[in-house]
């Protein structure tokens, strides 16, 4: 037969162990809940950050587009003024020699054709027209 004191000690130890285990499980549960809450918060923050960044990108792109359009318009107007000034000069009506005009034209058109061809950005194109143009201008 187990003495009363031994039984009491065993019961106390078992109770303490049970309490400890229950406390550990509860702490684990709290930690997991905090982790889930943190994940939800991070997801919400990421969503807000994405929307803010998207709005910023749209605003930035619109500002850049406005600037480039203003600049392009200024360049075009300035070029038209310069052309107008040149055409008012008496020498502007001097005809170009036929050979120079034809070879220059052929060279320019050749360069444009090469430039518009597929793979033109590989740098391997434009050699012949460039040579024709340099010959015409020699």
């Amino acid at each position: 037969m187990i003495p009363f004191a031994t039984g009491l000690r065993a019961a106390l130890v078992a109770g303490a162990l049970t309490l400890f285990l229950a406390a550990a499980v509860y702490v684990l549960h709290l930690h997991r809940r905090a982790e889930r809450a943190e994940a939800d918060l991070a997801a919400a923050r990421a969503e807000v950050a994405t929307e803010t960044a998207q709005a910023g990108v749209e605003r930035g792109a619109a500002a850049v587009a406005d600037r480039v359009q203003t600049r392009a318009l200024a360049i075009t107007v300035r070029a038209q003024e310069a052309e107008h000034d040149i055409r008012r000069l008496p020498e502007a009506d001097t005809p170009l020699p036929d050979a120079l005009r034809d070879r220059l034209r052929a060279g320019l058109l050749g360069l444009r054709e090469r430039g518009a061809a597929p793979g033109a950005v590989d740098g391997a194109s434009g050699g012949e027209p460039a040579r024709a143009l340099s010959e015409a201008l020699r």
Partner: protein, 70 residues
């Protein structure tokens, strides 16, 4: 016109039908203007890419901290 649409279109190319010195000078000016416009568009495109990259960098998430090692 939005920037992306302007960039999708062809670059302006002045006519090469010149007969006089004036036509040739006008062609040179138009070529220079076209080059300047394209340069401005290229700069704008780079700026747009920079804005996108900055936004993407700001969205990069920090590593998630774990409460427990399991």
């Amino acid at each position: 016109m939005p920037l992306a649409e302007s960039l999708r279109g062809p670059c302006p190319k002045p006519s090469v039908d010149f007969a006089t010195l004036g036509d040739l000078a006008a062609f040179a000016i138009k070529q220079e203007a076209a080059l300047s416009v394209c340069e401005a568009m290229k700069t704008a495109l780079v700026q747009t890419i920079d804005v996108h990259n900055a936004a993407a960098a700001s969205l990069a998430r920090p590593p998630r901290r774990k409460w427990l090692p399991f």
